[in-house]
């Protein structure tokens, strides 16, 4: 058996050898460039940049890879159990509905809620829209004021701006330089006609964790619903809607190793918080969100929540260790590195660093082998620095050079070391070329320079 296999191999090898010889009969005398060897053929060329392989992924706040256990739970609902959960008359509908309700219970138990308080949506953005616009429109006769912070996610800020156009008033609370909201200031801002307080749990850009219990307590005392965007917090820090006095909460699946395209809105029953639905239709999800509930996505979300409940401690310990490793590695080799946001009140998987005297876009261009995000929007169309960093009081030049490292469940020590190595190498290279850095090292205060006008 083994002998015949070996005999089969020999002609194959020779054939392979013959092919390469016949492929280049004309090339023996040509002066054209030598064709790339097999290893380089695996290289990826996108947007004119050539990298030798798939970059190492450190952008967990943008999205997370789907956990294989989640995919395993979802696949049957794409293959044979494809029924619509709202079909009441046959097995396909019944089994689909049972799966949806089981997933609902899993999501609810991760946050300490009742399954009847969970409504599936298409993601945290839709949840934020329903929460902000839906609550205020429902209570539009008596409540005309919304309180939020300057570091909220764009969808919350945009919904608030939309409400302002409809005639509501919005207070955008500033944050301190460590990213935390001043709770006393929040309490002062609450008026008799305040209909909603919206403060996100964990910030997606800087990773800062807001004091949810305190805010929830104040809102409960003053009788104002408390909404929190917990997309980045779910499954990462322990959330208990009763302990934290949360009235509405936005949840997203693709931040906790679940599928993209699904999220859930938590809506308190006691005391009942009412919202005006933003999606009109057949009245699914108790009329809060019409539309067929996507069974495979919802099942994936439920599986992701179940896994997160089991793995939260382990993942948190690991993220803390890896973040320390990354910080020590970078700060030990380069100086003038600033951490954006509080270190004490932080989710360890999110590290936002600014490197002084380095230009942001060139730093990112040199870090193509690490998939990270910048804190500024300079990678997108506009050159504006990130509004979150601006709210922290970070100067524009530092905001432009900020990098956000995301550490997740699947990040390895070797990846952290490689990211450190690549970042340090790129920062040192850019600083060597930077005249501003030379001046700073010579002791000149750059801010005091009077630049000559030409």
């Amino acid at each position: 058996m083994a002998l015949s296999r070996r005999l089969l191999l020999l002609p194959l090898l020779r054939r392979g050898g013959c092919l390469s010889a016949s492929a280049s009969p004309a090339r023996a005398l040509s002066t054209a460039a030598v064709p790339a060897d097999a290893e380089q053929e695996e290289a990826v060329t996108v947007k004119g940049v050539r990298i030798s392989g798939r970059p190492l992924y450190m952008d967990m706040q943008a999205t997370t890879p789907v956990d294989p256990r989640v995919l395993d739970a979802m696949l049957p609902f794409y293959l044979s159990r494809y029924g619509n959960p709202h079909s009441r008359t046959h097995l396909y509908g019944w089994e689909s509905d049972a799966a949806v309700e089981e997933a609902r219970a899993r999501v609810a138990s991760l946050v300490g809620a009742d399954p009847r308080e969970i409504f599936f949506t298409s993601g945290a953005t839709e949840c934020n829209n329903i929460a902000v616009k839906g609550v205020m429109r429902f209570y539009r006769d008596r409540r005309r004021h919304v309180i939020t912070t300057q570091t909220e996610h764009k969808c919350v800020l945009d919904s608030c701006r939309y409400l302002q156009q409809e005639g509501f008033e919005v207070t955008y609370l500033p944050v301190r330089s460590d990213g935390l909201v001043d709770v006393a200031q929040l309490a002062d801002a609450i008026r008799p006609d305040t209909g909603l307080v919206s403060v996100m749990a964990v910030n997606n850009e800087i990773g800062v964790v807001q004091p949810l219990e305190e805010i929830g307590r104040i809102c409960r005392e003053k009788g104002v619903p408390f909404h929190t965007d917990a997309a980045q917090a779910l499954g990462k820090i322990p959330i208990d809607v009763n302990q934290m006095g949360i009235g509405l909460m936005s949840l997203s699946a693709h931040k906790i190793y679940g599928p993209k395209g699904v999220g859930a809105l938590y809506l308190r029953r006691r005391p009942r918080i009412r919202v005006e639905p933003q999606m009109s239709g057949g009245g699914q999800e108790r009329g809060i969100r019409s539309g067929t509930v996507p069974t495979p996505l919802v099942v994936g979300f439920g599986a992701a929540c179940e896994i997160a409940a089991k793995e939260m401690d382990y993942d948190h310990r690991r993220a803390t260790t890896l973040q320390q490793r990354l910080l020590n590695g970078i700060c030990g080799q380069v100086d003038d590195v600033v951490i954006n946001g509080s270190m004490e009140h932080r989710y360890p998987g999110n590290l936002n660093l600014s490197f002084a005297y380095v230009e942001g876009e060139s730093l990112l261009m040199g870090l193509k082998e690490v998939a990270v995000s910048s804190g500024s929007a300079c990678t997108s169309a506009s050159l504006e620095p990130s509004y979150v960093l601006r709210a922290l009081g970070v100067e524009e030049d530092m905001a432009h050079t900020s990098i956000r490292f995301g550490i997740g469940r699947f990040t390895t020590e070797e990846e952290v070391d490689r990211a450190t190595e690549l970042t340090v190498h790129q920062v040192k290279k850019l600083r060597d070329m930077s005249p501003l850095y030379e001046m700073a090292k010579a002791g000149i205060d750059i801010k005091s320079i009077q630049w000559a006008q030409h």
């Binding site: 695996e42 990298i51 030798s52 392989g53 190492l56 294989p68 256990r69 699947f410």
Partner: protein, 92 residues
């Protein structure tokens, strides 16, 4: 339902070896490393479990995870991208 008996040492070692072997079959660098590391950490943590129902439950959970891992190793290999992660390439 009859209470499950505690797994023998041989059974536990066999399950651990199977998990590590299945981990090696993942084409994705991150999933492969995670499976190997998580299995090792879980077995190490549960080593001290003297309580029979807890040990039997942990063993049953481990067996279920092995089945999931086996299926997913096949699925991941069917859709493996052509370019490997740079972590798997030789240092340049």
């Amino acid at each position: 339902m009859a209470a499950a008996a505690a797994p023998t040492r041989a059974e536990v070692m066999s399950l651990f070896r199977s998990l590590l072997r299945t981990a090696r079959q993942f084409s994705d660098y991150n999933i492969r490393e995670y499976t190997r590391r998580r299995a090792a950490d879980a077995f190490r943590e549960n080593r001290a479990l003297g309580d029979v129902p807890a040990a039997a439950a942990a063993f049953a959970y481990g067996k279920k995870q092995l089945e999931v891992a086996k299926r997913q190793a096949v699925v991941y290999s069917m859709y493996a991208p052509k370019a490997k992660s740079i972590m798997e390439m030789k240092l340049q």
